[in-house]
């Protein structure tokens, strides 16, 4: 294979999971995610892995729970309506302290919505992926190369913290083609899973993977311990990329495909002498609070650009706490904002200073 190859976001997502040692994929077709499953169905048999098309999304996520509880690196993927169906299983995975990687190639909602790209599942991913007190790590790639890198990180983080990790992609990133480098020499480091239900062979006490606790005080204690872990993750795992923010008066905040559109708009604004910059989020949970706080030094206003009616903007408002102007620009329903539209918003804000 040549050093650089041309890959679709969805193919790259699947191939990166195989490279990360994932050998169990449980899926169900839905546009615009189907190439992930398609690629897995072609590649898994060649690497001694299992590709299984489940009878439903609910079945697929529970197969991930089972495979992961038994100690395997397992994964599922879907697109927005399918992720809603997986929410029960996601909650069970979090409640069982089991690692798993879940990819959401977002499309427009609510309901059946539409098949075009969207970022309207931000609240679902970061706030309410299922019932009960729990969090998922949420990673948001913005290029096909970054999909490859973040899928590897997702498996590693899941193992480190024993929790579900979501790759939040969208129909645009999933379907577009970009040149990428696939480093096949990279060593895979899969840590031991002493907690896994993989057979005790009379050498240890039997392990239990479970999310049911009979005594309320026990459950409360477990949840409190889990939230201490979440606090540690908030300190250690915040990630973002800053672009031209050093002296920025207008700081655009965006992730995924919207961040690439925003970057073009920031470049154009700079050409017009406007001090604009971009914070591109890489982790959506934990939210990169620290970057927003440190940019408040120069920023007069923050502009959140999303393919939704405005969801991530709430996090910026919470962090900024009313001390700076926080604006929102979005397109939704499968519509994609253009760099010209974002530039117009930046100019509108500048005009108000």
């Amino acid at each position: 294979m040549p050093e650089k190859v041309l890959m679709k976001g969805n193919e790259a997502l699947a191939e990166a999971a195989i490279m990360a040692g994932c050998r169990y994929f449980f899926g169900y077709p839905i546009t615009p995610q189907t190439e992930v499953a398609m690629h897995m169905s072609k590649r898994m048999p060649k690497v001694g892995g299992v590709y299984l098309q489940a009878e439903s999304e609910v079945a697929a996520i529970n197969m991930v729970l089972g495979a992961s509880a038994a100690g395997a690196r397992a994964m599922t993927s879907s697109s927005s309506p399918g992720i809603s169906l997986k929410s029960e299983g996601l909650s069970y995975i979090a409640g069982s302290d089991v690692p798993a990687v879940i990819a959401n190639v977002q499309r427009a909602g609510p309901g059946l919505g539409g098949i075009q790209p969207s970022q309207a599942d931000y609240f679902q991913a970061t706030r309410a992926a299922g019932h009960g007190d729990f969090k998922m790590l949420v990673l948001a790639p913005s290029t096909v190369q970054e999909i490859i890198d973040l899928v590897a990180d997702a498996f590693a983080l899941g193992d480190e913290y024993r929790m579900p990790v979501m790759i939040l992609s969208d129909g645009l990133l999933g379907q577009m083609m970009e040149p990428v480098v696939i480093d096949e020499t990279k060593k895979i480091n899969i840590p031991e899973r002493p907690w896994a239900i993989s057979g005790h062979e009379n050498k240890r006490k039997h392990n239990v993977v479970n999310s049911l606790y009979i005594e309320p005080p026990d459950l409360e204690a477990i949840l409190k311990a889990r939230y201490e872990k979440y606090e540690l993750i908030k300190k250690k795992e915040q990630r973002c990329e800053e672009y031209m923010t050093d002296d920025a008066e207008i700081v655009v905040v965006a992730y995924g495909a919207s961040a690439r559109i925003s970057r073009s708009a920031v470049d154009a604004a700079r050409k017009d002498g406007i001090k604009a910059g971009l914070i591109r989020l890489i982790t959506l949970w934990p939210y990169p609070d620290d970057a927003i706080i440190s940019r408040m030094a120069t920023a007069k206003a923050f502009l959140c650009v999303e393919m939704s009616m405005g969801q991530m903007v709430d996090d910026v408002r919470l962090i900024v706490g009313g001390k700076r102007d926080v604006r929102f620009f979005g397109r939704t329903g499968g519509m994609i904002p253009t760099p010209a539209e974002v530039l117009r918003e930046i100019k509108n804000i500048k005009g108000g200073f």
Partner: protein, 225 residues
């Protein structure tokens, strides 16, 4: 364009079939032909030639798109107007969907296509992982032929790395293209190259210079407002 006037463009998905089909159609108009382009990709609803229907119409190409193409409906179907290509005197280009799944749609029309006479161009790209070796590429070609009941008549080498394509990206693929052609037993029609590289390519090879139509929203140049 083939004198019989019906060109089927097929290949692995993501090889650049649609961008090539758009160029091929526009060039045929420039040669003075009356051209109809049919988007037959009912498998994947993204980056299909229907999205470029407006550009194509402006350049004088007639476009037949699947019903509901570019909308949110995930049940694309070929329109009845599809049958007009068997009555027209236009040059017709069929842009098939990717792989055997995309080619299956062609099978429904294979009798009529064979009766009308056709050329079928197999587009391949060395930089796509599933067609990166001549063996893999010919394997996919055979799956396509089996699915649609038509035989490819020539290979089009569309090896590229999108915006990172340089002259050496293309020259490095020439040996690969010749091997695909030899092992498929059909001629290599040409290698596709972006127009701006025209002066940097070897003079003794046959190149087809193309423009880039299929791109993402942030690749469309500097925004203005």
């Amino acid at each position: 364009m083939d004198p019989k006037g019906l060109t089927v463009i097929c290949g692995h998905y993501g090889t650049g079939k649609t961008n090539f089909a758009i160029n091929y159609a526009i060039d045929a108009v420039r040669e003075g032909k009356s051209v109809t382009l049919v988007d037959m990709d009912v498998v994947n609803p993204y980056f299909t030639s229907s999205e470029y229907a407006e550009i194509l119409r402006k350049k004088g190409v007639k476009v037949i798109s699947p019903s509901f193409a570019t909308t949110n409906l995930d049940i694309p179907a070929l329109p009845a107007s599809m049958y007009s290509i068997f009555d027209t005197t236009d040059s017709v280009i069929l842009d098939a969907g990717g792989d055997d799944a995309g080619a299956t749609v062609l099978g429904r029309f294979s009798r009529k296509i064979i009766d009308r006479g056709y050329e079928m161009l197999y587009v391949t790209n060395m930089y796509r992982p599933m067609t990166s070796t001549p063996e893999d590429s010919v394997g996919i070609l055979r799956e396509i032929e089996n699915a649609c009941g038509l035989k490819a008549t020539a290979v089009v080498n569309n090896s590229h790395l999108k915006e990172l394509t340089t002259a050496s990206t293309i020259t490095d693929s020439l040996q690969y293209a010749k091997e695909v052609s030899r092992s498929a037993g059909i001629p290599l029609m040409f290698s596709v190259a972006p127009r701006h590289l025209s002066g940097k390519l070897p003079a003794d090879e046959h190149f087809y210079l193309s423009d880039i139509y299929v791109r993402t929203v942030w690749e469309e140049g500097e925004p203005t407002c």
